[in-house]
C-alpha cells in the first residue's frame, strides 16, 4: 500500500511539474541557411492568424531585401498586463532575440542583457533617414530601445458644427481658446465643452507651453525647477479651475477613462477632446461622423509664453530591444532596419493584401478591415506612402506635431529616487484635482509646493540640477 501511495504521489508530482514547465522550445539551429529569429511583442501573438500571415510576408520581403532567409517565431506572452508578464517570462529564462518593452526594461538593461543599438543605428543609412532628432537624443541617453513613431503629442480636436457655431476662428492665444470655449458653452449650456481622462495630461499638451511650462524642468531664479511646482503651473491650474467652475471642463474628467471620453464625444456630451495625433484622430473623426454626421477640426497648441508640444529626450518609454543573448544580433537589427525601409513600411502599415487592402494597378484600395490593422513594428513619419494612410484630421495633427514639437531635455528618474518620485507625483495629483475642482483655492498651491519639497522634492531637484548642468 505504502509503495502504491508513494508511486502515485511521485507520478502526480512528475506530471504536475512537466505541465508546469510549459511547452517551451529552444530556437532551432540554422538549417539550410534559414535563421530563426524569436520575437515577443504586445498584441503580437502567434495565436492570431493575421500575425502569422504578416510574419510570413515579412520573411519573404526580408529575403528580397537582404538576401537572408529567416524564420520568425512569435513568442506567446502569458495573459495579463504586458510589462509585468513579459518580465516574468524573461525572469523564467525565456529570452527571445527581439523584445518589445513597454516598461520594465531598465532593470534588464542595467544587467547588460540588452544590446547597445547606437553603433548599429549610426552605421545604418536607413535609420539615419527615418529617425527624428528626438529619437536620436533618446538613443544617446539610453541606447537600448528603438521606437520609430511620431512623438506622442495630443492634439485638441473640436466637432466642426460646434466650432462653426462659435465663430469658426482657429484660436491662437489662451484668451482665444477661452473665448471659443465660452462661446461653445453658451450655445450648448447643458453639456460640457471638453473632457480629459483621469487627469489633465491631455489638455496639458495644448496649454503647457503657453503658461511657460516648456520643459519638464524649467528655469526659475537661476536653477531648474520641476514644472509642476513652478509659477507657470499655478497660472495653468487657475485657468483650469475657471474652466471647471464655468462648466467648460467636464466635472467628471477625473473618473473618465479613455473609452468613456470617446463615448462622450460620439454622443454629444462634449464637443472637444484631445487625441494622439495621427491615425487616432482619424478614428475619432470617422466614429463621430458615423454617430453625429460631423467631422473634427484639429487645433494648434495655445500661444503664450511659448507655443509647442514638449518631446522628452529622456529615453524611449517603449520600443524594441535586442537581447544580448541573441546569437544573431546583426541579423535582428537588419530586420528592424528592413521594417523601417519603404518596403517594410508597405507591409507593416498597409496590412495584408486581400484583407486590409487590395491593389488597383499601383494604387492601394483600403477595405473595411483597414481600421482593424495597426503596424506591429514602426510608424515612420517620413514614409512617403504611395496611397495616403491618414485622413484630414490625422494629417493636420501630424503637421502640428512637425511644426510645434520642442525638445525637452528630460532624464530618467534613478531607481533609488523612484519611491520618492511616486510620492511627489501623487501629491500633485490630489492637489491639482482639488484646486481645479474648486475644493481648494489657488492660494493652496503654495502649501502644495512647500509640501512637495518637504516630501523629497528637494532631493530630486538637487539631482535634476546636477544632471541638467
Amino acid at each position: 500500500m505504502k509503495r502504491l501511495l508513494v508511486t502515485g504521489l511521485v507520478l502526480m508530482f512528475a506530471t504536475a511539474f512537466a505541465f508546469a514547465g510549459g511547452a517551451g522550445e529552444e530556437p532551432g539551429p540554422s538549417d539550410d541557411g534559414v535563421t530563426t529569429i524569436r520575437i515577443v511583442g504586445k498584441d503580437f501573438s502567434p495565436s492570431e492568424e493575421w500575425n502569422i500571415q504578416h510574419i510570413r510576408q515579412i520573411e519573404s520581403g526580408f529575403a528580397e531585401y537582404s538576401g537572408e532567409q529567416i524564420e520568425i517565431e512569435l513568442v506567446q506572452v502569458p495573459e495579463g498586463a504586458y510589462a509585468e508578464k513579459l518580465n516574468l517570462m524573461l525572469l523564467g529564462g525565456d529570452i527571445p532575440d527581439l523584445i518589445y518593452f513597454q516598461g520594465g526594461d531598465e532593470v534588464i538593461a542595467n544587467q547588460g542583457l540588452l544590446v547597445d543599438l547606437l553603433p548599429y543605428v549610426n552605421a545604418s543609412s536607413v535609420m539615419q533617414d527615418v529617425l527624428m532628432e528626438f529619437n536620436m537624443q533618446r538613443l544617446e541617453n539610453y541606447p537600448y530601445l528603438l521606437w520609430i513613431a511620431p512623438p506622442r503629442g495630443r492634439t485638441a480636436v473640436v466637432r466642426e458644427d460646434w466650432f462653426e457655431e462659435a465663430g469658426g476662428e482657429v484660436p491662437e492665444t489662451i484668451d482665444d481658446y477661452y473665448e471659443l470655449f465660452a462661446a461653445i458653452k453658451a450655445n450648448h449650456p447643458d453639456t460640457f465643452v471638453m473632457t480629459d481622462t483621469g487627469n489633465t495630461a491631455r489638455m496639458d499638451y495644448t496649454f503647457d507651453h503657453a503658461f511657460g511650462l516648456t520643459a519638464t524642468w524649467v528655469m526659475e531664479d537661476g536653477g531648474y525647477v520641476y514644472k509642476k511646482v513652478s509659477e507657470g503651473e499655478r497660472d495653468k491650474l487657475e485657468f483650469y479651475q475657471r474652466l471647471y467652475a464655468e462648466g467648460i471642463l467636464d466635472n467628471e474628467y477625473v473618473t473618465t477613462a479613455w473609452d468613456t471620453m470617446e463615448d462622450k464625444l460620439y454622443t454629444g456630451q462634449v464637443g472637444l477632446v484631445y487625441g494622439t495625433a495621427g491615425i487616432v484622430l482619424d478614428i475619432y473623426n470617422d466614429k463621430l461622423a458615423e454617430n453625429q454626421g460631423v467631422n473634427l477640426v484639429p487645433l494648434p497648441p495655445a500661444q503664450g509664453v511659448g507655443q509647442g508640444y514638449s518631446v522628452s529626450s529622456a529615453k524611449e518609454t517603449r520600443g524594441w530591444a535586442i537581447s544580448a543573448t541573441s546569437e544573431h544580433p546583426d541579423l535582428v537589427f537588419e530586420l528592424l532596419e528592413f521594417m523601417a525601409s519603404d518596403e517594410g513600411q508597405f507591409l507593416d502599415r498597409y496590412g495584408l493584401e486581400g484583407i486590409h487592402y487590395t491593389m488597383d494597378g499601383d494604387t492601394v484600395v483600403f477595405t473595411e478591415e483597414k481600421s482593424n490593422w495597426w503596424p506591429r513594428f514602426h510608424e515612420v513619419m517620413s514614409w512617403d506612402a504611395p496611397t495616403p494612410m491618414l485622413g484630414p484630421a490625422g494629417l493636420t495633427g501630424w503637421d502640428f506635431l512637425l511644426e510645434y514639437s520642442v525638445g525637452d531635455p528630460d532624464f530618467p528618474i534613478p531607481e533609488e529616487l523612484s519611491p520618492t518620485w511616486d510620492a511627489l507625483e501623487n501629491l500633485y495629483k490630489e492637489y491639482s484635482y482639488k484646486i481645479i475642482s474648486g475644493e481648494y483655492s489657488i492660494s493652496r498651491f503654495d502649501d502644495f509646493v512647500e509640501e512637495w519639497y518637504a516630501l523629497g522634492g528637494d532631493r530630486v531637484t538637487e539631482y535634476a540640477n546636477e544632471v541638467l548642468r
Binding site: M1, K2, L4, L5, G8, L9, M12, F13, A16, F17, A20, A81, A83, E84, N87, L88, L90, L91, G93, I95, G103, G104, D105, E106, V107, I108, Q111, L113, G198, N199, N251, E252, V254, T255, T325, E415, E416, S418, P419, T420, D422, A423, N426, L427, K429, E430, S432, Y433, K434, S437, L455, G456
Partner: protein
Amino acid sequence: MDQSRVLLRKRIYRDRHLYLMLAPVILFFLVWHYIPMWGARISFQDVRYIGQNEWVGLKHYRMLFSSPVFGRVFLNTITISAMKIGFFFPLPIVFAFLLNEVRSEGVRRGVQSVVYVPHFLSWVVIAGVFISLLASPDGAVNKVLQFVGIEPIRFMTSTRYIRWVFVVSEAWRSVGWDSILYVAAINSIPQDLYDAAYVDGATRWQQAWHITLASIVPTIITVFILNMGFFMNAGFDQVFNMMNDAVINHVDIIDTYVYRVGLTKGNFSLGTAAGLFKGVIGLFLIFTTDRLSRRVSGEGLW
C-alpha cells in the same frame, strides 16, 4: 514491529481511498503554496535575469519602508481592511440567517442564485458599474438622494466616502458567496433540536438565537480567524480599478504602491518583500486571534 505502527498501517490501508482522494489537494498546496515560499528569498536578493541572484540583505525592505509615503500607505491598508472586516464580516452571517427563515425552497434557491452572481464579475466590470452609479451628480444614487432632498455627493472623488464605496461594493460582490459556508453550517443543524425547542414553546427568534446561532459559532470563529490572515490584503483589484487622482492618497494601499513602484518597473524583489511582510503580519494575526478566541470563547482554529 511496533504495535502503534501496525495500527497506523492498518488504518491507512482501510482508508486508502480517502487518502488517494486527499492526495491532489496536498499536491495542490505543495505546488502552489509551499514550494513558492522558497521563492520569497528573492526579497533579499537582486534578481539577475541570467546567472546567480545577488544577495543584498534588507535592501528591498529598506526601500519599501523608507518611502516617504509608506506610513500612509500602511495606514490606508489597515483602515480599509478594518472597515471591510468590521462592517462586511457580519453581513454573510445575517444573510444566511435570513435565508434560513425563508420557507419556500424555490424562493430560497432563486435568491441564492441571484446573490451569488456578482461574485463572478470582475472588478473591472464592477468598478465601471459603481463609477457610473456614484461618480456623477446625475448618477442613479444621486437622483435618489435629490428626490429625498439631499444634495448630490460625488462619492468616487470624495475622500470622505470613497472607502465606504469599497466596503459597499465588496459587500455587494461577496455577501452571497461568503454566506455559502454559513448556509451549509445551518443546514447541518439537526432538525430534532428545532422540534424539541418547538415542543418546549420556543419562539422563532429564540430558536434562531439559541439553536441556529449557537450551532454556527465555531464556523464563524474559524472563518474570522482565517480572514485575519488576509487582513493586509485590502483588495488590489478593487482599489486599482476604483481609485482616481482625487482620492489616491487616501486609498493607496501596499499592493497598489508596490505594483506602481516595483512590478511595473520589473522590480520583483520589492514586490516579494511586500508580500512577505504582509504574510508575516497575517500569520501573526492568525495566531493572535486564535489565542484570543480560545481565551474568550474556548473555540479556536485547531
